[in-house]
């Protein structure tokens, strides 16, 4: 299951319209607990996530998994994307894509609907859910195929405290089952709560990486120190 790790990004750059958005960067991601990607807004966090997931066009360099043909990822976008269908149908969709037998689909969908607490609205159109409900649905949908990696791009940035708490609990449970959670966030409190590893991105470059205790207690670079202090970095 986890033979796909490590993911190696080598001399990787992403350019859009001539401007460098990310890179050049080098990074090795192995198995582990939640990996938080932190940094100021516009620093390239989203791009980094999309590159790792494989949905961003790379201008230079490589991004490769040890065994890429087994890639099974989930991805949650900052603004929750739901299909114009019912909650239950949103959840069954990824399983239908891979031709899962109907009884299995039903079991999985029922299980996840309960886990995210949307049983009462399982037949309601997903477009009529609140922001928090939608994001939980998106996460459940991303997890329903039991992926090796779950990418999340600032999923709680527009949500209230209650939803955030529920989602963080869900993510910690997920990490505990062996799925690598890789998440971008600008909420430093959230980073501290969830991280076991951290990547600090600024101006499209990876400035510092390390385990959570190291990063938060003994930051090495000046930029990270300033960032952790709360300075606005340009």
């Amino acid at each position: 299951m986890s033979q796909m790790f490590p993911l190696t990004l080598s001399n990787l750059s992403v350019r859009r319209r001539g401007k460098s958005v990310l890179g050049p960067i080098d990074l090795v991601v192995d198995q582990g607990g939640p990996l938080m990607v932190i940094g100021p807004n516009g620093s390239g966090k989203t791009t980094l996530l999309r590159v790792m997931h494989g949905i961003e066009r790379i201008s230079e360099g490589t991004a490769s998994w040890a065994q890429s043909d087994q890639a099974n990822h989930g991805y949650v976008f900052q603004s929750p994307v739901v299909l114009r269908r019912s909650v239950a149908e949103n959840l069954s969709y990824p399983l239908e894509l891979i031709n899962t037998p109907k009884p299995q689909i039903k079991t999985a969908v029922d299980h996840w609907i309960e886990r995210i607490g949307l049983t009462k609205v399982k037949d309601r159109s997903a477009t009529r859910l609140s922001g928090g409900e939608r994001q939980k649905l998106a996460i459940a949908r991303a997890l329903i195929r039991d992926p090796d990696v779950l990418f999340l791009d600032e999923p709680c940035s527009n949500l209230d405290g209650q939803s955030t708490r529920e989602i963080e609990a869900l993510l910690l449970e997920t990490a505990a089952t062996g799925t690598r959670v890789i998440m971008a966030t600008h909420d430093m409190g959230q980073a501290r709560r969830l991280a076991s590893d951290v990547v600090f991105v600024m101006g499209g470059r990876i400035v510092e990486t390390g385990s959570a205790p190291d990063i938060f207690s003994v930051p090495k670079t000046g930029e990270l120190k300033a960032f952790l202090k709360g300075d606005i970095l340009i």
């Binding site: 949905i55 976008f77 299909l83 114009r84 269908r85 894509l97």
Partner: protein, 236 residues
């Protein structure tokens, strides 16, 4: 006096309907048959094509979209002439003997309404694709899976596209006059009958038939909307 003509037309329409006029039923049924068949065939071509255009990037995509939009402005009479030339005994497909049969009319109407349905479908699918783009790519869907998902989730807008095509088809007269021949008991439909009665100067009857045609089109539209509403509340 014009207003008098309209009242007479309404009365003529009522009279035809209430007395179950046999010829009226015959040509109305034929109108429906021809246009509904054309709608089904045209949609089967136009909807996947419009969706494909929304989803697939290729070099001449903009050109193709422009061509489809331009084709919408094709005068139906011109389409009729071209189809006639194709189906004529002296033409390439004359051997099938389709000229002056309902199938010739269906073919002409398919040619006329396919660009319209494709264009509206494409617009609808483009919007939906913008919404679903990141998600579907992230889930590693195949092109075919994307098309199926878009068509299913966008089906209400596609229905609107279909109804627009149907309206265009059932009101069409120029092309089907040429390729159908308006033959009594064979290829006469509501619109060609209206043209015939107008030419005879029988405005009241022509108007009457016109009101029946409008009623028919309304009925189909309402029926479709009612069907789709029951889908929304219940489960299909």
């Amino acid at each position: 006096m014009p207003m008098n003509d309209i009242t007479q037309g309404l009365l003529a329409a009522l009279h035809l309907i209430v007395t179950f006029d046999a010829e009226l039923w015959e040509i109305s049924l034929r109108s429906l048959q021809v246009s509904l068949t054309a709608l089904i065939i045209a949609s089967a071509i136009a909807v996947p094509f419009g969706t494909f255009l929304a989803v697939q990037r290729f070099k001449y995509r903009r050109l193709v979209i422009s061509i489809i939009n331009a084709l919408m402005g094709l005068p139906p009479v011109v389409v009729g002439l071209i189809v006639y030339i194709m189906l004529s005994r002296s033409g390439p497909f004359g051997v099938f003997g389709l000229l002056f049969t309902p199938w010739a009319m269906i073919i002409a109407q398919v040619v006329i309404i396919t660009p319209l349905i494709a264009s509206i479908s494409h617009q609808a699918m483009r919007e939906l694709w913008a919404e679903y783009h990141d998600l579907l790519i992230s889930m590693n869907t195949s092109k075919w899976q994307r098309i199926k998902t878009l068509i299913w989730d966008g089906r209400r807008n596609l229905l609107t596209a279909g109804l627009a095509g149907f309206g265009r088809a059932i009101g069409e007269v120029g092309a089907i006059m040429i390729v159908g021949g308006n033959i009594d008991h064979a290829t006469r439909v509501l619109t060609t009958a209206i043209a015939l009665e107008t030419g005879k100067g029988d405005f009241a009857l022509a108007l009457g038939l016109g009101f029946v045609l409008i009623g028919l089109a309304l009925f189909v539209n309402i029926a479709i909307h009612w069907l789709s509403r029951t889908e929304r509340e219940g489960r299909w």
